[in-house]
């Protein structure tokens, strides 16, 4: 699971029927530098990615998202997503 700050949203105009309606978040991944100084979150050098969300995260939230095959686990019938929002973070303790 990686963490990232929601920096935007993506609206699909056309998509495959198996991609049911849902919210797509534009997320900038966070590393040590961003965790150490949360004001830097969202301005990291790693490329941002689009994460499927059904927890209701908004812009500015920090989320934990799961990538890979496990991102499809919660969905029945299966949906072809490779990154799913699993956690909306409330508090972070970081040394």
């Amino acid at each position: 699971m990686r963490f990232g700050k929601v920096i935007g949203r993506v609206v699909l105009s056309q998509h495959d029927s198996s991609l049911r309606s849902g919210r797509w978040l534009l997320v900038a991944p966070m590393g040590r530098r961003e965790f150490a100084d949360l004001s830097k979150a969202g301005m990291g050098d790693e490329p941002s990615l689009v994460v499927y969300d059904n927890l209701g995260a908004g812009e500015g939230d920090i989320i934990g998202f799961t990538e890979g095959g496990e991102a499809m686990l919660p969905f029945d019938p299966p949906m072809p997503v490779d990154a799913t929002n699993a956690v909306i973070v409330d508090q972070i303790q970081f040394i």
Binding site: M1, L55, T66, D90, Q91
Partner: protein, 94 residues
């Protein structure tokens, strides 16, 4: 499995039901010499690892199913072991 050091933890405001009871720890991946690489991953913890511990994180979802009660939980990293000590090319590293 990858070697990582626990550098914090995270509490969830909202989460997938399967993750509700899980302890989520922030783990920084270590390089061979034991220094942090800056890459932070979140891992579920059922072993009680504490901040500062060096742990083995399993990066495969199927392995997580052993720990999880809900097979539909989207989690791929789990703290599989807590490292006591390790040797690396001539000399112990903590």
């Amino acid at each position: 499995m990858v070697i990582a050091r626990i550098v914090g933890n995270v509490t969830a405001a909202a989460a997938h039901p399967g993750l509700k009871a899980a302890r989520l720890l922030l783990c920084e991946l270590l390089d061979d010499a034991g220094n942090g690489t800056g890459r932070i991953i979140g891992a579920g913890d059922w072993l009680g690892a504490g901040i500062g511990n060096t742990v083995l994180v399993d990066a495969d979802g199927d392995a997580c199913q052993v720990f999880l009660k809900d097979p539909k939980t989207p989690l791929r990293n789990v703290v599989a072991a807590i490292v006591d000590s390790r040797n690396y090319a001539g000399g112990a590293r903590k």
